[in-house]
Subunit: 187 residues, 2 copies
């Protein structure tokens, strides 16, 4: 498929909790693995983990080292392969800057949120992947903080299943979004 570079960012701050309060969530080992493997499957260029907490950054680095160079690399090389996409950043802006420098162009953040009522359709965003380098921005906890939606960045329409239930795990939402945006037309 003829498309521009695409990265995924998983944001642990600023996000909201179930009461809507601004929080920093903990990095989940399984989010790192699952989203890295899905991103690798769909040819995503990078996967940024965004957290301002230094201890969390250290934890991520240990996970990465284990699977890229340690025992894990021998046991299951596919994990290291997927995790080679992972980068860490202390803020979304830092991730955007870092990736922008790597590709020599300013990437456009594409925000997501299960509670949003607005948003571009998947067809529109599929077209967008062909014209602009994008960073698909996923929130943890109960979603990205409202302040991020005040920047005039485009928002991807929420995933609607066949029910009123609207609580997909972020790992599943990431998989569905990447499939909708990047899968080959022939399935």
């Amino acid at each position: 498929m003829n498309r521009r570079p695409l990265a995924v960012a998983l944001v642990h701050h600023p996000v909201v909790d179930r009461r809507g309060d601004l929080v920093t969530t903990a990095v989940t080992n399984l989010d790192v693995h699952d989203i890295a493997r899905t991103a690798r499957t769909y040819g995503v260029d990078r996967f940024y983990l965004v957290t301002p907490v230094q201890d969390q950054l250290t934890l991520i680095q240990r996970i990465l080292d284990h699977w890229r160079q340690g025992h894990g690399a021998d046991y299951n090389p596919h994990r290291g392969d997927a995790l080679s996409l992972v980068r860490v950043s202390t803020s979304l802006q830092e991730a955007l800057t870092d990736w922008g420098e790597a590709i020599g162009e300013t990437p456009l953040p594409l925000l997501t949120g299960a509670q949003r009522q607005d948003g571009l359709s998947y067809e529109e965003c599929r077209e967008l992947t062909k014209t602009r380098p994008l960073m698909l921005v996923l929130g943890t906890g109960w979603g990205l903080a409202p302040s991020l939606f005040e920047r005039d960045w485009p928002v991807l329409a929420p995933i609607r299943g066949n029910s009123d239930y609207n609580h997909l795990p972020v790992r599943a939402a990431a998989a569905i979004m990447l499939d909708r945006l990047l899968a080959p037309d022939e399935k």
Copy 2:
């Protein structure tokens, strides 16, 4: 959407390991939660966990009780809602029989496997969801045992991303399959 009943089964035996040997995998707490939440989102009727190991069945029951009736039900009622779809069976045949009795009709298993070269397209299977009650059968470990593919049951084509990487987590594969099979046409 006008469709027939559809269930998902997550099989822990018979499956194969990385060497192709027949094994029984352990039930993973997160598989239960993630796939239940995705199934609930897409209006799936039931989610069967298949394992012959009695200790594992007991573990699953404890998880279900916690979220359906215990502390978890107060803390996050959405979890209990999703987990209400879960049933346990000691074999795939038992799951098929149990569900067949519930709907008064024999469901057709729809097998899946990342390593398969054959298989019905998603478009064909989307049509199938409208004519037959189906049980989408997912393998853990390195996939469903070859013996299951000798029964003349239909097989769903593997998910192809945009790379040669073919190691999606089963949680992500389940999400992508249910979205492709059951999502509304408007996205």
